[in-house]
């Protein structure tokens, strides 16, 4: 966190100054480790074993926050008799179809309640390959899967099939000794962490977990986060100040681009994209939610309001609000699948908008082969990035695999405006929208992306204006009139924000609770509804922090409804009283008859703690006064996920797809449902690669480098690509400090200057010693600070839920000296492939 989010880390340092204990778990010793109280070096790819052992420690030592667990989690829910755990099936859960490499999760359901597949069509519940591939997790929006009724429960948590007991059995084998064997973390070190975390959780204290892509870039990435969620829910660390699981995201609006998604499988506000097989019309689309409980029960209002925002007067109840205008999914359209389609020739046009996949995406060659097979490519960026110059200086030109004169891709480089040259909002990693104002005009032909897409839309609409083809109706009917400002005809970002916020019969909306399913409201992103409450840009609010409470509710605007901590109802006990004075945040004021506190309550403001829903109630009305997790259908935190995940209701440790070790926990070596991308340019490593390799970022650079390797002040601070190795590995392989090393996988070989450092430590996994090679991945051939791209050696294999590639744990070999050039490079890699 100090490494990649130094300014956010000021709060950690402040907590440390007040006595907080900082524990850092990482394969490498970073700037965070340097100021932590405890540093735990861990083998890349083994975190579920570590976190699972923490869960086991909590359960075996009775350290769970019992009252919280009973009231706020599904610990008491009793699971279907048919459910079989990894304990029973040696690493698999019940319902696995080996041929399709997919689960039918009907056996994971609650007893007494029907857990639906979320994707809506009960007939499709077997979850075939295609269904699974539609990024199922997001199919449920942010609400998780549907549970249509209350399950049978045992509040004593003693029933052998209650979630709590299943959890206990499932994690029993995740012992400190197992941590030693799987993670390379000494048992004593693990126990130090376990004791610290449990001692610091409960009524009076909370513990926060922070992570970044070190947890997500795995074939079991979603389950990493799930394990953390289980741990935090057991310890009562969710919805409370100082608690939580905090994702430290790496781009200015990466949260915003998920909320208002430039993602294939969701619409704004985590509404799923309709699926061809299940969503024939609006009714079937919202059907799964019609009887749904929790705030997702209003998905029809959110969807209709979105359709009204996009197709305006053309969207009427009579035509299903133009629901039919939405394109349908049939499978995975994630970026790696798209790249394969580019190589196959189906996808011919590509926009790269502030992104540099030739450096920043796994398996750079695959990316560049895709780029080289396009008809046309539009690159919008500030600087000349590698993805725009692959045709002249990509590594494949050097090896002779591609020749400039034979690459038919037409490339448009469209200079982009910088953040100082346009108005707009970023959503930061804590869901906070902050407006940035334009300071100067963009130089030359540089334009904002808002300008580009708005004017491109106008030009396309002009071309299609007289078409009678029904496919063009969505374009013809699209609401596309924004206020144009200045000599450049810049569309007003504020007017776009107004559309996102939404309007009703009385003007701008102020809360998503005002949205209707009858077409009387329009809203471009329901979770952002209220960002322009009263017609005022709330994201531009800048009341100085020092003039506010520590929650600072008057700076910017956080979705939803300006809530700074979500699920904050959980900061009070079931009766509505603070768990403790020290951790007071939101509580029930019985005199006033409402929830009060430092933040906006993430709860219906006047629903009393003792509220009992009526039988058959739907949406939020079906949740009780002590059900804090209001986006969940049952209002509970899910220790056990009866539906919604492709790879199991509970996290289990599987080895990375590429690992030099066999799984000590189960016979099942890897995630049985992981997503493979089989292609000649994407071979997976065999056994010829003895070392673990992991990639990461440095403080001085930004992701794929377009915004840092081009700047002298940053380039001089980290001037060149390097690899980090321990003195022991350097000795073993004859690597010299500041010399060159070649790092090889079955994809490619790259060269890096050698940094021999004690910060990289060989780990002892019982008898075996783990050597890890660390690679910062910022570099490429362009800019001031240059080097090979670490991503060139990584393969593409992904988490089955969200299609994120496993970039944080793979295998490699490392040898001294520079890599061969030209054909010799290909020969070297081929030789390794032959070896296995």
């Amino acid at each position: 966190m100090a490494e990649c989010h130094p300014v956010g880390f000021q709060w950690v340092m402040e907590a440390k100054a007040r006595g907080a204990k900082i524990i850092h778990v990482d394969p490498r010793f970073t700037r965070t480790s340097a100021v932590s109280d405890v540093f735990v070096p861990i083998r890349a790819g083994s975190d579920i074993a570590f976190l699972g052992a923490l869960v086991n420690y909590v359960l075996t030592h009775g350290k769970e926050f019992r009252e919280y667990v009973v009231a706020y989690t599904n610990a008491a829910a009793i699971i279907n008799e048919d459910f079989k755990d990894t304990e029973d099936l040696d690493g698999l859960f019940s319902g696995f179809d080996a041929e399709k490499r997919a689960y039918d999760h009907s056996s994971w359901a609650y007893q007494g309640a029907e857990a639906q597949s979320g994707a809506g069509d009960p007939s499709d519940r077997t979850g075939g390959q295609q269904h699974r591939a539609t990024a199922q997790a997001e199919q449920h929006g942010s609400g998780g899967a549907t549970v249509s009724a209350k399950p049978d429960e045992d509040p004593t948590l003693e029933h052998p099939r209650c979630v709590f007991q299943i959890l206990k059995r499932h994690y029993a084998r995740y012992t400190p000794e197992m941590v030693e064997e799987v993670c390379g973390v000494p048992a004593a070190k693990f126990l130090e962490v376990a004791e610290a975390i449990t001692a610091n959780s409960g009524r009076d204290r909370t513990t926060a977990l922070c992570y970044a892509v070190g947890w997500t870039q795995h074939t079991v990435g979603v389950q990493y986060i799930r394990t953390a969620s289980i741990l935090q829910a057991l310890l009562g660390n969710i919805g409370r100040p100082g608690g939580g699981i905090l994702a430290l995201r790496g781009h200015a609006s990466i949260q915003g681009s998920t909320d208002i998604p430039t993602l294939f499988n969701i619409l704004p506000g985590y509404i799923p994209m309709p699926h061809a097989r299940q969503h024939l019309d609006l009714a079937s689309f919202v059907a799964e939610d019609a009887g749904r409980t929790g705030f997702w029960g209003n998905m029809d209002s959110y969807t209709v309001s979105l359709l009204k925002a996009w197709w305006g007067e053309h969207a009427t109840a009579g035509n299903d609000f133009c629901f039919d205008y939405l394109p349908r999914l049939t499978g995975d359209h994630g970026t790696y699948s798209t790249v394969l389609r580019q190589i196959e020739g189906e996808c011919k046009g590509y926009f790269l908008v502030g992104e540099n996949p030739a450096v920043g995406s796994a398996n750079g060659k695959l990316q560049r082969l895709g780029l080289a097979n396009l008809d046309w490519l539009v690159v919008r960026d500030l600087q000349m990035i590698e993805s725009a110059t692959f045709w002249r200086n990509g590594p494949e030109i050097e090896t002779g695999e591609l020749r400039t004169e034979e690459i038919g891709t037409e490339v448009f480089f469209m200079p982009a405006a910088a953040h100082t040259e346009k108005d707009g909002s970023f959503t930061n990693t804590q869901r906070l929208l902050q407006w940035h104002h334009k300071a100067v005009d963009p130089p030359g032909d540089a334009r904002s992306d808002l300008w580009f897409y708005y004017h491109l839309g106008k030009l396309i609409r002009h071309r299609l204006r007289d078409s009678t083809d029904p496919r063009d109706l969505p374009v013809q009917h699209l609401t596309w009139s924004y206020v144009e400002e200045g000599p450049l005809g810049e569309p007003s970002a504020e007017s776009v924000l107004a559309e996102i916020n939404g309007t009703g019969p009385d003007g701008p909306l102020s809360a998503y609770t005002q949205l209707k399913n009858d077409g009387s409201t329009s809203c471009g992103c329901w979770i952002y509804c209220g960002v322009r409450a009263d017609g005022v840009n709330q994201a531009a609010r800048r009341k100085p922090g020092r003039d506010q409470t520590w929650v600072a509710p008057d700076w910017g605007w956080a979705w939803p409804a300006n809530r700074r901590i979500i699920y904050n109802r959980a900061s009070a006990d079931p009766d509505g009283n603070p768990w403790s004075e020290r951790k007071k945040y939101i509580w029930w004021d019985s005199a006033a008859g409402r929830w009060v506190g430092a933040d906006v309550p993430d709860f219906e403001p006047t629903k009393p703690p003792d509220f009992e829903p009526e039988e058959g109630a739907r949406a939020q009305d079906a949740l009780g006064g002590a059900d804090p997790f209001i986006m969940q259908t049952d209002g509970k935190a899910w220790l056990f996920a009866p539906a919604g995940l492709a790879d199991g209701p509970l996290p289990a440790h599987y080895e990375p797809l590429e690992s030099p070790y066999s799984n000590p926990l189960y016979a099942q070596q890897v995630n049985p449902t992981l997503q493979r991308y089989d292609h000649p340019a994407n071979p997976y490593n065999g056994s010829a690669f003895p070392y673990v390799v992991t990639t990461y970022r440095l403080t001085e650079h930004h992701t794929a480098g377009g915004m840092s390797r081009t700047l002298p002040y940053l380039s001089e601070l980290q001037p060149e690509f390097f690899c980090e190795v321990s003195p022991e590995l350097a000795e073993e392989r004859g690597l010299e400090h500041l010399g060159w090393a070649t790092i090889i996988t079955s994809r490619s070989a790259i060269e890096a200057r050698v940094m021999v450092t004690r910060r990289m430590k060989p780990l002892r996994m019982r008898e075996q010693v783990v050597h890890q090679v660390g690679l910062p991945y910022h570099w490429g051939p362009n800019g001031l600070s240059i080097g090979d791209a670490a991503n060139d050696i990584l393969g593409v294999a992904a988490d089955p839920n969200v299609h994120i590639q496993e970039a944080k744990a793979a295998t490699c070999d490392i040898i001294p000296g520079r890599r061969p050039r030209g054909q010799a490079l290909l020969d070297l890699v081929a030789e390794y492939r032959r070896r296995g």
Binding site: P6, F9, Q10, F29, V35, F39, E716, L717, R753, T757
Partner: protein, 252 residues
């Protein structure tokens, strides 16, 4: 003169982000130094020089089998008795109303005398420009009530700027706190008015010997010995006069 202003750099909370280096360069329009991998841990700057007025040192240590990574943002010490200022023959270097030591770029003729006069190796002559440069403690900013660029940027308050007396008190408190937490190796550097430079306007809390960070353990301003030097030079001059006179006495 207004109140004496200074820097207190608490290296125990430094995270080595180098924001100070970049903020300093940005504000002061300092030329980039070029791309050169030094292999000194994550330090690719090397040392303070004409084009680096804040320099973050990185020291990797092994202490009882544990790795320790020390980071420290070094800067001009703005000495009470400043060698560079004393020896400057043009008056380009001067002491400001904030009791800081600053080079006036419109005066400096690049004689270079200040460079070897600094016991910390801070001030340096810029090759293409010919003049001497170093930290000004953002003389322009602090005159307008702003903080220096480095202290403004520093995410963890490792670099603190303020009235020197206040900083010294704060440093004493911080040191006591670290000692009470068992961090016995914590020490202050440059904060004592009794040291060889009369106390630094920019002082540090270190976690190891100063030399480990590239700081002299007992810096002394060279001009402390200057009266004695002039005396010796005077005597030697008399010796010359006498020698010449004697040579011309006696036989032709």
């Amino acid at each position: 003169m207004t109140e004496r202003m200074g820097f207190f750099t608490d290296t125990s909370v430094c995270i080595g982000c180098k924001a100070c280096e970049v903020a300093c360069k940005t504000w002061n329009d300092i030329p980039a130094d070029g791309v050169d991998l030094l292999g000194m841990s994550y330090d690719n700057t090397g040392s303070l020089d004409a084009n680096t007025w804040r320099h973050v040192a990185f020291i990797e240590q092994t202490v009882q089998d544990d790795t320790r990574w020390l980071m420290s943002s070094d800067v001009c010490k703005h000495c009470t008795e400043a060698g560079c200022l004393d020896v400057c023959p043009t008056g380009a270097l001067f002491r400001t109303e904030f009791d800081t030591v600053v080079v006036q770029a419109d005066i400096c003729n690049g004689c270079g005398y200040c460079v070897p006069a600094c016991p910390f190796g801070v001030i340096d002559r810029r090759e293409d420009d010919g003049r001497a440069w170093k930290c000004t403690m953002c003389y322009d900013r602090i005159g307008d009530g702003l903080m220096p660029a480095c202290a403004t940027a520093c995410p963890t308050e490792s670099i603190q700027y303020g009235p020197l007396d206040e900083l010294r008190e704060r440093a004493d408190e911080r040191l006591a706190e670290l000692h009470s937490r068992g961090q016995a190796d914590a020490r202050l550097y440059g904060h004592s008015p009794d040291d060889g430079v009369g106390g630094a306007g920019a002082f540090f809390l270190l976690l190891d010997e100063p030399e480990v960070y590239g700081l002299p353990s007992n810096p002394v301003v060279t001009t402390r010995d200057l009266p004695a030097m002039w005396k010796r030079a005077g005597l030697a001059a008399v010796a010359v006069a006498a020698g010449v006179a004697v040579s011309f006495l006696g036989r032709r």
